[in-house]
């Protein structure tokens, strides 16, 4: 079950590739489950494994890098709307994805699964990649309350709307909220039907 997040302090896994689409994050042939569990095993499947299931030279196979934070290139999560991509990343142990740019649907899917997408400047992103490359043990701190990300003595503020922030900090989800206003929705339907 998803739960609240506020502060994450961790080493990070660097994925310095732009335009990573959700077909790479989780290929379609692994979308056949009818539950939300277990997708982490196939995270970046075709970048991690050859067709004979031997491992490829890929950062997620490299024990040098680990942590709860995934740092990725620009336009992360583009393409298919499959929420399985967010499930797979979360299931593999990540709580945060950092990039300079997220595709819209992925960003929503991540937020709905308490996986925090942190958008930073190109410059800050590059510094993160450099720092992790120099020292894979570099610690990154993400603090949701003040909306800051810190590494190597440098920090940057990130954007998130107040509503979503409250949800993440308290472990609320959108369905709880929407169910609480079902009366308003029924009133709206009544009005809408008379107008259109």
């Amino acid at each position: 079950m998803s739960k609240a997040i506020s502060k994450i302090v961790s080493t990070a896994v660097p994925l310095d590739i732009a335009n990573i689409d959700t077909d790479q994050i989780i290929p379609a042939r692994f979308l056949k489950a009818t539950s939300r569990d277990g997708f982490g095993d196939n995270l970046f499947r075709d970048w991690r494994y050859n067709s004979d299931n031997t491992k490829k030279d890929f950062v997620l196979n490299n024990p040098t890098y680990s942590g709860k934070i995934l740092v990725a290139g620009k336009n992360f999560g583009c393409g298919s709307s499959r929420e399985h991509a967010a499930w797979a990343i979360k299931d593999a142990g990540f709580d945060v994805v950092v990039s300079s740019f997220f595709a819209d649907i992925f960003k929503n899917n991540a937020l709905n699964n308490f996986l925090l997408p942190v958008t930073v400047s190109e410059d800050f992103l590059q510094q993160l990649f450099n720092a992790i490359e120099k020292d894979p043990k570099t610690i990154i701190g993400v603090d949701l309350e003040p909306q800051t990300i810190m590494a190597n003595g440098r920090s940057e503020k990130f954007e998130i709307n107040d509503y979503k922030k409250t949800c993440l900090l308290n472990g609320y989800d959108d369905i709880d909220f929407l169910l609480s206003i079902r009366g308003d929705i029924e009133d709206f339907e009544g009005l809408y039907a008379t107008r259109y």
Binding site: K32, D46, S81, E83, D104, Y163, L179, R182, Y192
Partner: protein, 456 residues
């Protein structure tokens, strides 16, 4: 105050707006399919709540279905279970299902419009990014994740922040052999695969107005490939004529009332867009992609850019600076929610009539729906394909996404009328070149990337 087409529809669907947060947006139509719905049904059952408005949902099975021998049980166990789960969920929750064997079954973005379920002024969602297709009718239509599918099932609403608005104007006359698919591939090549992220796009201009509804759907379908949340086109007589008389279209006096409202759906003259782009239709060539995102495209007579991403070129086995024309092709896939409608099949059939596919090339034509398939048979298109050596299959998403039985083998080149050329999209290590149905047909005949204009 002047309003855009988007704002007119958005404003009338806002139930309320949260301070400092998103709006509660009411959803008129919800399409579901077998891949992104099971976890949503499960979530509702876990919360012990019923579907709020099941009559506003339409379901079909498309992603996992085989395109041969659909009367037999699905061979692959997990696919079979997923399709069966959809059947059970729809029965249990009283959702209309056009499943395998039903005369309305097909790719979700093909059947919605063809049944008249998709109408102007609506808000439409589906757990599939190509839901933007329905925007061709002047609707706000966009793809959502499974948690959002659950929200719509539970409350018929979503929490959405209003996107920025972009208008793309395509003016002028298209050249010979240039189709709507080429327009959208050209636009994406111009602005890149992330060029419209954060925006909702309205397509306008004379070249857009001149398109059929099928052509408009192809354009709106690929809006997501430049990052846009959706794409839309103001409905006009072409749209009204398309809808009229369809199964779920309004009838009688209701038709007159709706039509009068639909005629108000356009961007006012002084409406403001956050960004505006102008495209000259005459400058567009038949397009083809060479790389691993839909923005990596060139005119068919062009060269693969010397500066192209080396990772993409390595995957594709292509060289920067080389001509794309003449590249050998192993497979041709004509289908997907982008280009599998009757007009696409007619266009291809007209061209291949009396021609034969090149030796060694495998050609799959996969109609978007049962209705498209039946229409093609009525028109004798099936015979034209059979004579040309093209295989006419049964409806489904097929080789667009490497999920069902139809996959392109590793290392092989496939010219495809679908929407994505991502690594592994059509199967592990498959190499995809996106193009229009006409350009794909020309490749089928010659066995290589060819310029359709030399044949017509």
């Amino acid at each position: 105050m002047p309003k855009t087409l988007f704002e007119k529809i958005w404003d009338r669907h806002v139930v309320k707006t949260i301070d400092g947060g998103p709006s509660v947006l009411y959803i008129d139509r919800h399409f579901i399919h077998e891949v992104t719905s099971p976890q949503a049904f499960k979530g509702l059952e876990k919360r012990n709540i019923e579907l709020f408005r099941p009559q506003q949902i339409v379901a079909t099975a498309d992603h996992n279905v085989p395109t041969l021998n659909q009367h037999l049980p699905i061979k692959e166990e997990l696919s079979r279970i997923q399709v069966q789960t959809l059947v059970e969920n729809c029965q249990k929750h009283h959702v209309e299902l056009y499943g395998l064997g039903h005369p309305y079954q097909g790719v979700v973005h093909v059947i919605g419009p063809e049944l008249g379920v998709t109408q102007p002024g609506m808000t439409i969602v589906c757990g599939d990014s190509h839901t933007s297709t329905h925007g061709a009718f002047g609707a706000i239509a966009f793809g959502i994740g499974t948690s959002e599918v659950e929200m719509v099932m539970a409350t018929q609403c979503l929490l959405q922040s209003k996107p920025k608005l972009m208008r793309i104007n395509v003016e002028g006359q298209l050249g010979k052999g240039v189709t709507s698919k080429d327009i959208i591939l050209y636009i994406i090549a111009q602005i890149s695969a992330s060029g419209a992220t954060g925006y909702f796009v309205e397509y306008a201009g004379s070249a857009i107005r001149d398109l059929s509804m099928e052509g408009r759907m192809t354009i709106c379908n690929m809006s997501i490939e430049m990052g846009a949340r959706g794409g839309m086109i103001a409905p006009d007589q072409t749209a009204f004529d398309y809808i009229k008389g369809r199964e779920f279209a309004p009838k009688g006096t209701l038709w007159d009332k709706k039509l009068a409202q639909w005629k108000q759906l356009f961007s006012d003259e002084d409406a403001k867009f956050d960004k505006e782009i102008f495209i000259d239709a005459a400058a567009i060539e038949p397009m083809i992609t060479y790389g691993t995102n839909p923005g990596m495209g060139v005119g068919v007579t062009g060269e693969i850019p010397a500066t192209a991403d080396p990772k993409a070129l390595t995957y594709m086995g292509l060289e920067g600076g080389a001509k794309i024309k003449g590249q050998k092709i192993d497979y041709v896939f004509i289908g997907s929610c982008t280009n599998s409608r009757i007009e696409d099949l007619r266009l291809v059939a007209d061209f291949v009539k009396g021609r034969k596919k090149a030796a060694g090339v495998e050609v799959w034509v996969v109609p978007g729906s049962k209705q498209v398939e039946q229409q093609a048979i009525r028109e004798g298109i099936d015979k034209v394909f059979a004579e040309a050596g093209f295989q006419l299959r049964q409806p489904g998403c097929s080789a667009c996404l490497g999920m069902n039985e139809d996959k392109i083998p590793a290392g092989k080149y496939c010219i495809s009328t679908s929407n994505r050329n991502f690594e592994g999209r059509q199967g592990p290590n498959a190499r995809t070149l996106l193009a229009s149905p006409l350009t794909a047909a020309a490749a089928a005949i010659t066995g290589e990337v060819a310029d359709i204009r030399e044949f017509i």
